[in-house]
Symmetry: C2
Subunit: 595 residues, 2 copies
């Protein structure tokens, strides 16, 4: 039941499916040839399985402690694991070499991050939040700020946080009250309360850099009056070392259903010294870099926890002897057969696997696109990749977390009664994964982002390119395909997505409620199309290997899992289309007091 | 966010939909005229809202404690609430008057039980398990045993438990090892370990009657060698009072994800004195009475917790001011609109409500059938009702718990970040409801029971009668229906169920794996058909009231919720049919080591 990192699956994705060696001429990719990347993956698996995973369950049981002096003690072993993480250079994997990073492509870091989050999602959040801070600083920091903070954040010597939410204001940032007053020396005094600040306070870095949204006096009302500040726990001295203790503290820890190993803090800022990032009143623009990074990371987390839960469920199903196969004993000399003989147990395990492996390919594809958005040779290529990433981020976030939850639910169900006890890991995975549907914008917010912002953005350019890519793939593969069932399934699913898109255009323009009412079903349809595309590409490569005589069971298994995707996952597409076309009237016709 | 019992909904079901007064000639129903039942419902609401619900959250946080002397202390307030429960006569509601019960029909007790479980599922399990013990004793006890135990169990002075599971043996009872040795005086010595014994030890009754499955020496192997014993914590003395302490004890409490207020015990029997119930080696037959009762109760629990979670979500959505409606401010003088303005929030709340209200009607229908199975005037009527109950119990158990989980998930999602904290009730509802998909036979076991046992039983008589009833309803209502959309939807859904049934007959006979592979999707299709039938009947009555000029907003709301059922719940039927027809090959073709 211990964690097993999906190294072989990543090898297949990198070498067979996405052929990452084809990009060796691009910046960063030269150092990421297949052999190097797979050596990194092996080390990543070893590190996450052996160093990180052992503290996952104990961290859940112990949780974090807020001490009388307002410091926070993370669970036993977290500090040591974090030290090992930074010493091995894992936090610097994709960091800018100018600031001490290894400059490897994002896709390598994505694979490592899946392993880290799968081994322990609560632990993985500490460096995860720092990654967000790095992206915000990179996007909006001055050269001086970058020089001062980036090396320490990339090395993991310091960590970062995101401070958006206030008690009365989560999704709706226009309501935020934390205020900033200029000190006259270029710095500001920040005062206010922030809640649900992940990794807000802990005992394993010498400084914590809080990125805080606040409002300047006289700033425009609403989201146009929000500025972003960097508020370090210790104000760097002239040498850039942690100096004076800033006026901020952790005033409380949330009691949460899961991710107990991560400190979720109430943060109080009382005239704390802060430094503006970017321009006044333009904080949200930078924060969005951080949020996009975070949303991708949350989708990844949903997938990662799902994979970990599935590993546990597969093992449990093989070990648990109970009952007999309906077609006669399969383990006649034992007291009973393993529950793996039961079709419904296999259904749960294989549906889960089809979702996880399709989701992992989807995640890897988008991570590669985000590399191309930065380093593709020509501007047109960078723009196209950037468009796609922007379009697909809400789908990554919401679809992968919805399916991650389904997988952990089924993993628990495979465990039977044992799954409900805390002696087996299923309960923790379910409690941990549940937050991924909520934070960094609830999945409903992602669906609204998809239909309300991402589809119409730039005249629908990103969506058109996305659909064109799939059409081109089908056109190229259709005749003489070695996996025709997958091409047909992709064509059918994409047609439904197109149908849904047309419906949105015809109905959502005049009535935004109609688009919103169908947004979640549309997002699911989008996710199904993306993963049908991934499965078509994966099946083709696996079939090619089998046809060429490979006896590696990996390829045979891949095709069998793909079959389950076609037979038991894709049929949901129709229902999503029908439901979205029901429109908003049936939802909106009730008065408030009818709820 | 406090619990609100669904009194008005039950009034509608009893008076408008099922017209329970029509049965006034039947035993027990004479005392259950509509006015009396509604007076009981009002009291039940008051009791569960005011006495039971307040200890639900504290019970979750405190949990149960196993003391050094092996006694168990339930959370604060549980003992007092149990005393109030028994003193008010709630445990005796449907008990046999011969043994001190009030003799009211089962449907009345079902409604009360939903309120009890909704207010606190962990607390409700204590009397719930006793109900199971009563049904087993009624079915298999000698007159002497009934006279001794039933009055005390019905009054709640004593409680009961079910002891099936052992560490190596849950679903597969053929493996059980607990042994029974005759003492020569008609009693037996019981030795063994049982786990996951709900309400196995606590501090609020003067005796606990454990019903224990065990094996006599020399008994036939497998399930044909299992006997059922009544093993009281205190052996009744000559006067029937608790006497000598029996040799059994609680050796440990499970650490569980939810239902913390209920003591889930490891029970050790060390030559404990037990009394045979029924015949040697025929224990399972009686245990099945108890299990059927328990399975109905678990389906009820799934629904009840779902309702409670929905109440909390509705309230949260009304209170939470965040963002603005897409169509312009609805609360222009406030800082923001309530999140109820958002179509996707309404989607979650209304889909949940459509599931809960349809499920409640389904539960009420089956509870009435179980009354008719006992007291219908003629043998044919009793037999038909009994057939239907037997057929529908696995659907009640699995469908209502699956949907109960969906509802609690959406209730948490409506809460956003607050839902993941333990300051709001959403997390507890989700953690509590999760066990309902597992215990008393996992939902996969229910699906197998449906397709493998219940469909073919007695030549398929029960299924044929079920389909005939729906056909007859459609035939009678179709022409000139005032709710034609519901009749059409029922007809379509039933046609899919019929299609699925034919597929099972054609494919499952020769290949049991094919039937098992599709069993869960078939069960969902069955649940959708049952609830489509219920919604057709509810909509007709609501529409009739509206058409007759009723201004009671209840009827208008009912029709609007029904619309959501048609538009957003029923479209799943097709996908279930397609998935089940995929058959078993895709699931069974993987070797064990491919998992």
């Amino acid at each position: 039941m211990a964690y097993q990192a999906p190294v072989r699956d990543y090898q297949f994705l990198f070498e067979n499916v996405f052929k990452t060696d084809q990009y060796s001429n691009l910046k960063g990719f030269a150092d990421a040839d297949s052999a190097t990347v797979m050596a990194i993956m092996e080390e990543a698996a070893k590190f996450t399985e052996e160093v990180v995973h052992p503290i996952n369950i104990t961290g859940d049981k112990e949780g974090c402690v807020l001490n009388a002096d307002k410091t926070v003690t993370a669970p036993k072993g977290y500090k040591e694991a974090y030290k090992a993480l930074t010493e091995a250079g894992w936090t610097a994997l994709s960091g800018d070499p100018q600031y001490g990073g290894q400059g490897l492509p994002h896709f390598v870091n994505t694979a490592f991050s899946e392993m880290l989050s799968g081994a322990s999602s609560a632990f993985g959040m500490y460096p995860g939040l720092t990654e967000g801070a790095i992206s915000a600083l990179t996007a909006g920091g001055t050269q001086e700020q970058k020089d001062l903070y980036l090396p320490k954040l990339i090395s993991g010597e310091w960590s970062g946080t995101m401070n958006l939410t206030e008690p009365h204001c989560g999704t709706d940032l226009s309501l935020l009250r934390t205020k900033a007053v200029p000190n006259g020396d270029g710095s500001y005094r920040i005062t206010g309360q922030k809640i649900w600040i992940s990794a807000g306070e802990h005992d394993f870095t010498s400084n914590i850099c809080h990125l805080v949204l606040a409002r300047l006096e006289g700033a425009p009302a609403g989201v146009k009056g929000i500025s972003l500040f960097l508020v370090p726990k210790f104000i760097p001295d002239a040498d850039g070392n942690p100096g004076e203790r800033n006026k901020l503290e952790c005033a409380g820890l949330e009691h949460k259903m899961g991710i107990h190993g991560n400190s979720t803090c109430v943060m109080m800022y009382d005239e704390a010294k802060g430094f503006l990032l970017g321009q006044e009143n333009e904080g949200l623009k930078i924060m969005f870099y951080m949020m996009n990074n975070a949303r991708f990371g949350v989708g990844l987390q949903g997938l990662a926890i799902g994979h970990a839960a599935l590993v546990a469920a597969n093992q449990f199903a093989k070990d648990r002897l109970q009952g007999r196969a309906l077609t006669g004993p399969k383990n006649p000399t034992g007291p009973a057969d393993s529950i793996l003989v039961h079709p419904d147990v296999r259904r749960m395990l294989l549906e889960s696997r089809a979702l996880i492996e399709g989701g992992r390919a989807f995640l890897t594809w988008v991570s590669l696109l985000s590399d191309l958005a930065k380093v593709a040779e020509d501007e047109a290529g960078r723009e196209k990749a950037s468009d796609s990433v922007s379009l697909l981020i809400p789908v990554i976030k919401a679809y992968l977390t919805e399916k991650g939850l389904k997988v952990t639910q089924d993993a628990m169900q495979v465990h039977g009664g044992s799954g409900f006890t805390e002696h087996f890991p299923a309960s923790q995975y379910m409690r941990d994964v549940r937050i991924t549907l909520i934070y960094e914008g609830t999945n409903g917010v992602q669906a609204l982002d998809l239909v309300g912002r991402k589809l119409p953005s730039k005249g629908g350019r990103a969506l058109q390119a996305f659909l064109a890519e799939i059409d081109a793939y089908i056109a190229a593969e259709e005749a003489g395909s070695i996996v025709p069932a997958y091409i047909k399934a992709l064509k059918d699913t994409k047609a439904k997505l197109f149908d849904g898109t047309m419906w949105l255009m015809q109905n959502g323009m005049g009535n935004p409620d109609a688009a919103a009412a169908g947004s979640m079903d549309y997002l699911h349809l989008f996710g199904l199309t993306c993963t049908a595309y991934m499965w078509a590409r994966m099946a083709k490569e696996a079939q090619a290997e089998v046809s060429a005589g490979s006896t590696d069971p990996f390829f045979d298994t891949k095709l069998k899992v793909g079959r389950v995707f076609l037979e038991r996952i894709l049929p949901d597409a129709d229902a999503h289309l029908i439901k979205m076309k029901a429109g908003s009237e049936g939802l909106m016709e009730l008065a408030d007091d009818q709820f």
